[in-house]
Subunit: 322 residues, 2 copies
Amino acid sequence: MANIKQVAKQAGVSVATVSRFLNNKDYVSQEAKAAIERAIKDLNYRPNQVARSLTTKQTNLIGLIVPDITNPFFPQLARAVEDTALALGYTVVLCNSDEQQEKELHYIAMLRQTYVAGFIVASNLISEQSYLDLNIPVVALDRSPESLLPNVSTNNFEAAKLGASYLIERGAKHLICLRGTVDVASSNERVDGFLAAMTEAVDYEILIGDYGFDNAYKLMTTYLQQGKPVDGIFTCSDYAALGVLKAVKEAGLRVPEDIQIVGYDGIQLGELVPPGLTTVAQPVYNLGEQATRMLVNKLEGKDNPDTRIVLEASLCVRGTTK
Amino acid sequence: MANIKQVAKQAGVSVATVSRFLNNKDYVSQEAKAAIERAIKDLNYRPNQVARSLTTKQTNLIGLIVPDITNPFFPQLARAVEDTALALGYTVVLCNSDEQQEKELHYIAMLRQTYVAGFIVASNLISEQSYLDLNIPVVALDRSPESLLPNVSTNNFEAAKLGASYLIERGAKHLICLRGTVDVASSNERVDGFLAAMTEAVDYEILIGDYGFDNAYKLMTTYLQQGKPVDGIFTCSDYAALGVLKAVKEAGLRVPEDIQIVGYDGIQLGELVPPGLTTVAQPVYNLGEQATRMLVNKLEGKDNPDTRIVLEASLCVRGTTK
DNA sequence: TTGAAAGCGCTAACAC
DNA sequence: GTGTTAGCGCTTTCAA
C-alpha cells in the first residue's frame, strides 16, 4: 500500500500539501489538487487510519455494547445504530459482552486503546461511573431515564404499567411478573410499573430472572409444576416471554385461554410465534437512531440540550392475550 | 494515559528494555523486570495498540462478516466465534453487511486499514477472488465446501437431501423448495440436495427467495393464494421457515396436518415456535469454533493441513412434520 | 543484557 | 499556498 510520501513525490508536492488536501484544510491550489488527485488514483492510495489516529488520537469508531447478541432485540437495535452511524460517517464496532463483565471490560479496554470516539451502551454489567471515568462520550441505550449517562430509552415505568394493566383488563386475576436482574435500574422501573398496575382484585407474585430465554423457561417450568394458580404473566423482555410461552405450552396449558402473556420490547419474532406475542413494543429503530444521533452530536460538539430522550412504548396486541 | 517512555523513566531503564519486557523478547534481567512491573503498575500503563500496530503492521483483530444480524443463525454463530477467538487471544469485530455490498466493502476497507489480522466471512456478497486479493488470511464460514477459500461448512448437499427426504418419508407428495439467492454456491448445493431427494412419486416446485424472513413470508403468501396443492415445504434457512410458517398459518392451513415444513440451520428459536420447527440442524457452535481455529492456525503459521472442514448436519425432528 | 536511534504513516505547527 | 520538521507511542536493528 502506497503512503503519503509516495503520493507527494508523484504529485510533485510536499506531504503537508497532500495531508491538507486529504483533510480539506487550508488552501491548496487547483493545480496541486489536480496533481494529488491523479497521484492518489494512480497509486491507489488510501490514507492509513492507524497512523492518522496515532497522531490525532481520534477515530470515527463507535463502540456499541450489547449484553446478549442472541436476544433478538439487540440485533434489531444494532441494525438501527449501524444504519444511522454509517449515514453520519461513523463505523460501528459491535461488541457482545455476552453477560460477562470480563468480556465487556475487554472490549472497552481494546477500543479505548484504539481511540474509539465514543460508546453506546445497552448492557448493564459495568457501573455508570466506570463509563464516565472513560472520559469520552458515552450514551446509554435502553437503560434507565434516570441514568447518570446521557441516555435514550422508553419510559420503563409507564410502559410496564401499560402491559400489566392490559392483563388485568383482559381478566387476569393471578399474575406473575417475571423480572430481570435485580439492581438494574431499567429492570426495577419495569417492576415498579407492574406493581403500579396491580389492584385489590388481583394477586401477584414476582419472579426474579433475567432478560434471557433459558432462565425464563426454567423458572416458569418449575413454577408451573408447583400448581399454583396463574392466569397472567408479564415478562420484562420478549425473549423471556418466548421462554415462558414454551414452558406454558409444555405444561399443557392453553394460551391465552388458561394463561395470558404480555412481553416487553417488540421484537419482530413476536409476530411469528403463534399465537402472536402481545407485547409492550419499544420503538426499536427509533431508539437506536436517536442514541446514535445523540452520541454523534456530542462527538461533534454540537449544541445539544438533549441529554435524555424518553420515547413512548405502545401496546401491541396479538394472540397471547384474550 | 501513560506511555512507554514514562514507564522507562520511572523504572530507570530504556524504552527498548520496557518494550522487550512487554513482548517477552530477548533477555531482560530480573531487576529490570521487577522495576518495570512496578512502574507499569504505578502508572497504570497499558501499551498503545495503535502505535504498536503502526510499527508492526499487525493486530489481533479478527473481522467476522455476517450477511444479516437479524437472522438468528448469525448471532449464534458470532457467539461461538467470539468465544473461541477470545480464548485464543484475539478480538472479534462483528460486521453486519446487512445484505449490502457497499456496507461489506466499507467494513473490509476499514478493517484492512486497521491491519486486521484476518477475516471470517459468512456472507456471500463479494467474490471470493476479492477476498483472496486482500492477501491476508480469510476463512469462509457456512458457505460452500467447494469454495476457493479455506472453509468450514456443513455438507449442504447431503444435509438438504436429508431434510427433503424426510418430508417425502412422512408422506408429502407436493413439495416446494424455497431456495436462497441464486448463484450462491451453498444455496445451489442445498437445492441440488433437495432435487436429489425427489422421487417419481412426488412433484415439486422451486421458489427463489433468500435466507430472510420477509421474503419467505411474502413468497409463500402469494403462492398459497394461487391454490396449488402443497403439502411439504423445505426451506434453505430456519429464518425463512419461520416466514413460511406464518404464511401457512395465516392461510388457515394446519401444520403439520395440511402442510409439513422442514427448515435448515438449527437455530435455537426453532424449538420455541410452536409446534416446533423440524429442521436440518447444523452444528452451529462447532462451525464457529472450527472456523476460528482454522483462521488462527493460519495467522500463527501453524502446520495446518486443514483448509477445509466439512461437518455433518443432523435431522432435528419437531412438530412441523408428522 | 541494555541503550540510542531510526522509522512506521500521518498531522500540525511554524516558517517562508 | 506550500514545504520542513517535530512528534504521536511503539518496535527493532545496531552497538556497546
